[in-house]
Assembly symmetry: C2
Homo-oligomer: 188 residues x 2
DNA sequence: GACAAAATATACCGATCGGTATATTATATA
DNA sequence: TATATAATATACCGATCGGTATATTTTGTC
């Protein structure tokens, strides 16, 4: 009944499967069963449709990651909580996570990348904040927060990438393994 | 003078900056200063242009990574050699690496992803082979080669991603740090 | 220089692109 | 019930999409 939500749902499916550029507005409205003016009534442009989609889905991820990233002296615990939040979100919003990942690595001058960048930057700042705080307790981390944040997010996304390709399941054990490997390497 | 090479060069620039879908063949030929039949004389289609580009650039990366991935009992040494090969390639062929990264994470049913998948799979098999061989010497690695290969490539690409965004330089010291962190974690 | 083949250009194809002017229908409020 | 507004549809816009039929030029070979 709510055509606005159905347009967003449909755009999410199509964008995540074939990409923002490859999907036309015509295809979106036909899949929903409405016409173009309906889409342009709710969203001013195709870009506006994408940004509304990012707001609806992306803010939920940010909220959960933000809540998970409170550092209170136990870095392993905080990182495990963060990984759990990412895994839970990727499982609950598989299509969106696939789309977000694709947009994050899309070319720098593409519309998709420009639209996702604010969300990516926020995730990144959250992660860097954790390592900056942790450096107060673990001095040898100091000055490496950029690399660590990128590396940790890279590890998380590599794992979720395997999940998206049906090569593993995101278990609670995997949360532990992921953080343990990041903290202590593959030999221990 | 070689219009075929110039078309590939130009396609590489445009695809890496704005993406395969967002760049039309018209734009490519105009940037080179030829006309469409010239492009279609060398490449049967836009997709053929992309695949020729991947063959020209991607095979070089595969050759170098393959040579770097010979395991002879010293896992740290092999991983460092591999990271060095990736870093060298990313520095030497920045545009192509950016494009490859974007295509790897592009939607599964997009042309870009389907075209890059053979190359991505080969890189992945090379990495898995290293960890499978290393498991003969380090039994505790056994059965985790998929996760480790994905995690290691994820770490490499996260680092190169920072380089592509001008947030660090790919030094020899960073090679050591990347492998050391992967092997022993961030605390040591 | 004759001639075949490769390389390039002109001019066009139908289809689709994102977007809109205008009209109509449904809905809520007074 | 009158009226304004939100929601939707019909029909269209110019531009660009990937691709091609045909003709011309260049090039290498004998």
């Amino acid at each position: 009944m709510d055509n606005r939500q159905r347009l967003l749902d449909c755009a999410l499916d199509l964008f995540s499967q074939r990409g923002y550029d490859a999907v036309g507005v015509r295809e979106v409205v036909e899949a929903v069963g409405v016409t173009k003016p309906t889409l342009y009534h709710y969203f001013d442009s195709k870009r506006g449709l994408l940004e509304a989609l990012l707001r609806r889905e992306g803010s939920r991820l940010l909220t959960e990651v933000l809540r998970a990233s409170i550092y209170q002296g136990d870095l392993v615990f905080t990182l495990e909580t963060i990984v759990r939040a990412y895994f839970a979100y990727a499982q609950h919003a598989t299509s969106y996570y696939r789309m977000q990942l694709g947009m994050y690595f899309s070319p720098p001058e593409s519309e998709a990348n420009q639209a996702i960048r604010p969300f990516a930057n926020q995730q990144r700042e959250i992660m860097e904040g954790v390592f900056i705080q942790a450096a107060d307790d673990h001095g040898n981390l100091r000055g490496r927060h950029v690399r660590y944040a990128a590396g940790f997010l890279g590890t998380i996304n590599a794992t979720i990438g395997l999940y998206l390709n049906d090569e593993l399941t995101l278990t609670d054990e995997l949360v532990y393994q992921t953080v343990h490997q990041f903290m202590h390497g593959i030999f221990s």
